[in-house]
Symmetry: C2
Subunit: 691 residues, 2 copies
């Protein structure tokens, strides 16, 4: 057992593999930041109670588990939340419709309400039996046990599912002869997660514009169509910072050429220039499979796996030369022409049902096999594209459909072709356990109500995104797919557009607050979006809440989905204020909250100083946000706004400010700016008290 | 390469495992029957083109695949049919909601339209890439390839899914250092399947009563309730042969005690006697996990795996002493009291989402690990219970929720907690490729229409079964779950009951035809339920048809689901007669067929002699069916009725008759009985010509 950093222990069992996340995913060392977290010198679980064995199938670990502790995590789990008593077989999968453990981001990291986290450093399809499997009792069965029936039938079985934990977390790593695990101490679950995120290099800090609204345009659009759409959105005063351009921009899509389509995007630099004039950042769709006509095909062939995908290469981006070839081309051909970022599609082993992606038995020049590459491909891909921007000292923010352990520092947000609204909320709630970000994007909608409810969730997520790749007109003009294609516009479209604008503007108001929450992700490892149980691990009422979440420290969001007139909301201890009415609620209670379509339930924690900006249409390097600070109740906690240029990595050299909002000893409100960044992004222009 | 039997080749690669289906699943040798199938001396695929390698993950095989051949099989696949261009990761799973390969019966056997079958003799979670993954082309990319785009976006991608097969079937067997495969020659796909089924011991032959209608009663019912229900069903003249008794009969259910509930079934022998007086065979629900209070717990403990399930033992039934203990108890306590069969629930690794079942890393005294046991548990369980009946020389027919390779001879029918009607049809269509039987049971229904449509499918399946375990009243009295529980009976229940009776009686009419089809399953390996592509492998129109099937040689069924007024039906070459109207249709065409609720589309192949019995209420050892033979068109093919006592294995000693229906040289209809069974089960009492 090694101490890796204060509060982090590494334990080695058997002969671990060479290709693991810790060994292969490069990130900055954050030892200094790690040292600032509270810690004790005692490992958070009794390590001498950990059992292990090597078998023909792989390597098995058994970690002790208390009857009362609850387990969360395992990456982007869309179908379940509290994993206690469940099994998870983690496997990269683009189509994770069942709650088996298949996911876009199978992160082998879990946290416990007892206040610790465990990272199993493997890129294998590892299995976790979270207290679900009890070893055969060797002792004489007690009379109590003998008379116990688990259930009378399967209905009852489901009801008792979580009752009977087996006192052990069994972990099986296939094909391995050993493994290293990392224990992350608390004292609480939240601190354990912070420690894990700092160990991962600290959370990402998106550029300020990345926190604005995104719009992904119709895949059938050519340059003119995209420009016309952008003009319309500007004309309608719908705040927008990023335009996503879907497969249509490329000459070859499946697989990818990474070259512009000769007819539809015949003058890319002109197109980029016109978009820039509208202050729109361009994000380009692509995937990692390289078409034979791509300029990098020949060079990458030697560094590719032994199977094709869609007739294209699968480059082994764990090899420096392959990464360099891929990055260099992107730099010259796209980034230096002004492309702000990329959407990294299809890197998630695509779905198990089709012939998409490469087999698990594929071989790569680096020595990775297909299974390992499925786990890590998204990581290598993020790393490769990020390296271009790092080198140029400009930040990017993008999208990716696969991730894994140690991803916190990658400025890429996960998304999915799945679309159940409740699953999308659950994804957001779960993401905070695992150092990943989740984009509950808005695509097709079944009604105006559905559209608005989904936008409400999206604007209160890491990436506010309308993904209209399937429809030529924005969904507020027509949510119905067929009618949209036919160009039939809603009669009441101005009303719908106004409603959508309200929430797109809410997003813009929250940028300073959100940016500062991301700064804490970066410097303290604290995820900006978190489950309630992470904040209130002592409160058993939060253990099952998978449809409410904290956004930053002060806002609790309880999204409503179409068809609901309102919903039950649990408020943890302390007082809370309803954002829209400033009405005060007492905590430790459950309320029935009615939320009309023009409201999404947001509760502000009493004692909050909330910076709210006057919404702008877009964020430029010169944008300065005019901020009114709302003070909820008395004895307000300080709030620190993080301020820098919003676009470079200069903050890593210490070039940033902290704007500390607080009450001075005389009870007067103060905003004190310290630091060495010379600009002013956040101008405090008002102050308001809510009682 | 060994020749195992005429037309069957075994090829060994590397060092195969010890625990495989062929090595562990015992069945009778059918060499004599196998010799009767047509065969050539040439292996059906070029074996020198098979590549193999051992890797850290396991063992990989590559078999050649033609561009034009189509692949089917892999056990009970509910979500897909033509597997060409798809991946299947076969894994035992009780909740296979996604098309990943998870299934109740992951049979590692596939067949090709080229006319051969391949069994991969492994109990591992084996992966098949069915032409879905192309090896990297080492040759210079051709200009054609270079200009080829697979798709423009994911919508288009789905459309081209099957277009581009990669010329190779890649098979990965995890954890193994070698494997044996068995090639089954045609000349056609149907013959290859016959050969596989005979290699598996030949198909099962259910007792005659097993082909009647089944009713599984309410789990909350006590003995009196069950008897009262049975009386009602008899009083309403609804044909019924088997009553299933659900968990409530046992004193402990999850896990199982295998002892009667002291209060609710206080006089089991009296109960069994009264059911027998009503000519009802009793089938008891149970699963394999042994409760501490069970009389066999102590004895089985030494033969059990190292994990519990629901506080119970997991007996290792691959060990003779364990099998004997389990079987002996069942024989004395239940079978010899008159129990006709069992429903073997929960043996399918239960769902991956919960803590049900044991982990893959479990260890069993025989040396099997959890993965292998998950694959084979259902097989051992079927074998164990069947052994009791074999020893007593009486046949049984039951239900099981997990199966695997070489299962054809086990008289157990698979079922599932899934319920999508289309999936249920697809399951039936797929089952014929893999030596398994499928029960599309009727449970809850959303409407009278849904109820009737589901019964129509069920009566035209291997096991006609109403599984009313959740409702106290039969579904024709009330399909709605809540109302059924409250005892609110449908106003038009007599009408609904009449409609249901029509199809339950149809089942009874078809018993002689179906029994004879099962006899061919037994003696020729020909599955009684088959996909159209198995009959017409040259007809490309059949390659995707997953919602029509052959029942025996002469009937083609095209089920209708609720919400449809009718459907498209493809009729292969030759003429066909619509069963209900005798209307003639020309083949090689697709028709829109309207089917009112009192009809399910059944088409009779021209040239058929169809024996239809006068429906009886139940089948006893003395029952003699009165049969009218319908002759569809001219030049009718002979039909052979198989006739024996219907209840014992005496037919294996040759004690049976064949009743050959044919036209003699003068054009007169004849029924000629040959054989040494002395009874008469099938009395030909009428003859009718349809032109």
């Amino acid at each position: 057992m090694n101490i890796v950093a204060p509060g982090i222990w590494k334990i080695k069992f058997g002969e671990p593999e060479d290709y693991t996340p810790v060994k292969m995913v490069k990130h900055e060392d954050r030892l200094e930041l790690l040292s600032q977290l509270p810690h004790s010198d005692e490992a958070p679980i009794e390590t001498d109670r950990i059992l292990y064995k090597s078998t023909k199938r792989g390597f098995v670990l058994e970690l002790p588990l208390d009857d009362c502790e609850k387990i969360y995590g395992f990456g982007l789990q869309l179908k379940s939340f509290n994993q206690t008593g469940r099994k998870k077989h983690l496997r990269t999968n683009a189509d994770p419709v069942a709650d088996t453990g298949d996911t876009h981001a199978p992160v082998p990291f879990y946290v416990s309400t007892k206040g610790y986290g465990v990272l199993v450093d493997t890129a294998r399809y590892v299995s976790f039996y979270c207290g679900s499997s009890r070893k055969l009792r060797t002792a004489k069965t007690s009379k109590d046990d003998a008379n116990k029936t688990v259930a009378n039938n399967v209905r009852d079985l489901y009801a008792v599912r979580d009752m009977d934990t087996a006192g052990v977390m069994t972990i099986e790593i296939p094909h391995a002869s050993g493994v290293e695990i990392y224990l992350f101490a608390g004292p609480d679950m939240r601190t354990a997660v912070q420690r894990y995120n700092l160990f991962s290099g600290g959370g990402c800090l998106p550029p300020l514009w990345g926190l604005g609204n995104w719009y992904r345009s119709y895949t059938g659009a050519d340059a003119e169509d995209v420009l016309a759409l952008a003009e319309k959105i500007r004309a309608a005063d719908l705040p927008c910072d990023v335009f996503g351009v879907e497969p249509g921009w490329q000459s070859q899509k499946y697989s990818c050429s990474y070259t512009w389509h000769k007819e539809n995007f015949s003058a890319p630099e002109e197109f980029i220039g016109k978009m820039r004039d509208m202050h729109l950042n361009i994000n380009l769709w692509e995937h990692v499979f390289v078409h034979p006509t791509s300029p990098i095909y020949d060079e990458l062939k030697q560094y590719s796996g032994d199977y094709e995908v869609w007739n294209g290469l699968v480059p082994d981006l764990s090899i420096q030369d392959a990464k360099k070839t891929f990055a260099e081309y992107h730099r010259k051909a796209l980034v230096e022409k002004g492309i702000a970022g990329f959407k990294l599609d299809e890197c998630d082993s695509s779905d198990y049902t089709g012939g998409w992606s490469f087999p698990n038995c594929a071989e790569f020049p680096s020595g990775l096999d297909g299974e390992l590459m499925h786990s890590l491909l998204g990581m290598f891909y993020q790393d490769t594209l990020l390296s271009i921007y790092r080198e140029k000292n400009i930040r990017t923010y993008g999208q990716v459909r696969s991730s894994h352990a140690l991803a916190a520092s990658f400025p890429y947000v996960l998304y999915s072709d799945l679309y159940d609204h409740k699953d999308f909320i659950r994804g957001l709630v779960n993401s905070g356990f695992s150092g990943i970000l989740w984009n509950p994007e808005v695509r097709q909608c079944s009604s105006v109500e559905d559209l608005v409810r989904r936008i409400q969730l999206s604007v209160l997520s890491p990436q506010s995104c309308i993904n209209a790749w399937m429809i030529p007109n924005p969904p507020w003009l027509q949510y119905d797919y067929d009618k949209n294609l036919r160009g039939e516009i809603l009669e009441n479209y101005t009303e719908v557009q106004d409603l959508c604008r309200k929430f797109l503007e809410l997003r813009m108001s929250l940028i300073p607050y959100l940016y500062s929450s991301f700064a804490r992700y970066r410097f303290e490892g604290l995820p900006p979006f978190r489950a309630l149980v992470m904040e209130y691990p002592e409160d058993e009422n939060t253990y099952g809440i998978d449809d409410q979440y904290m956004m930053g420290d002060s806002l609790m969001i309880a999204p409503v989905i179409a068809g609901q007139m309102g919903r039950e909301v649990y408020l943890p201890e302390g007082d809370w204020y309803y954002f829209w009415s400033d009405k005060k609620f007492e905590g430790s209670k459950t309320y029935n909250i009615n939320a009309a379509l023009d409201e999404i339930p947001i509760f502000v924690k009493a004692g909050t100083l909330l910076p709210l900006a006057k919404p702008v249409q877009y964020v430029t390097p010169d944008t300065s946000f005019e901020i009114t600070v709302k003070c909820y109740g008395y004895n307000c906690r300080n709030f620190t706004l993080f301020e820098d240029d919003g676009t470079t990595f200069d903050y890593e050299k210490g070039i940033y400010n902290e704007v500390k909002l607080s009450f001075n000893t005389e009870g007067g409100f103060e905003a004190v700016r310290t630091g060495n960044y010379l600009g002013i992004k956040f101008k405090i222009s008002g102050f308001e008290v809510v009682e």
